[in-house]
Symmetry: C2
Subunit: 96 residues, 2 copies
Amino acid sequence: MDVLNGKWKIAIISSICYYNKRRFSDILNDVVGISNKMLSKELKELEINKLVKRTVLNTQPITVQYELTPHGLTLQTIISNLTEWGIAHRKEIVGE
Amino acid sequence: MDVLNGKWKIAIISSICYYNKRRFSDILNDVVGISNKMLSKELKELEINKLVKRTVLNTQPITVQYELTPHGLTLQTIISNLTEWGIAHRKEIVGE
DNA sequence: CAGTATCCAAAGGGATACTG
DNA sequence: CAGTATCCCTTTGGATACTG
């Protein structure tokens, strides 16, 4: 079930989702701690799973934009549920 | 957010959840492919996160029962959502 | 800019054997 | 039965340098 493996996937999706469209180097900045190698790899996996769409813009030098596919947008609910649960979980753990 | 890391966590929770109470060796059988070392480790983590409760029964030889805590039960919704999404995802991927 | 390639240390995790 | 301990191979992922 874990198309979302690798600790970065959710952060990457969140970044793209927040800005709607996002360039490679921008995501690199958004997701603190990630290396270009990892970002490249994770994006490739997301693309294979049809969660993000990759479009090359013919600028000079070239830039690449990533955006969520309709199917990728489907994840929003899941992710926000997870986030919500995570917050509740923190309270549960530290609360005692 | 990933208290559910390690590829086994969800399977373990599902096993316990399905049977309500479940012994160590039973979970070992339910979750195909897991080693006792991993099961032990994962259960320990789940216990630390207060998702499962561990109770030692004074039988001979001793048996140990695991069950979900109220807080652990909270995950059910999340997991079923994930499962549901996973199924839809499969269709999306293989469908084309 | 958007990656790819290489190197390498650390973590993950299987198999097996052992203990109370 | 319910683990723990050890060995050891595999995977993960960071740092850095390089390419079109």
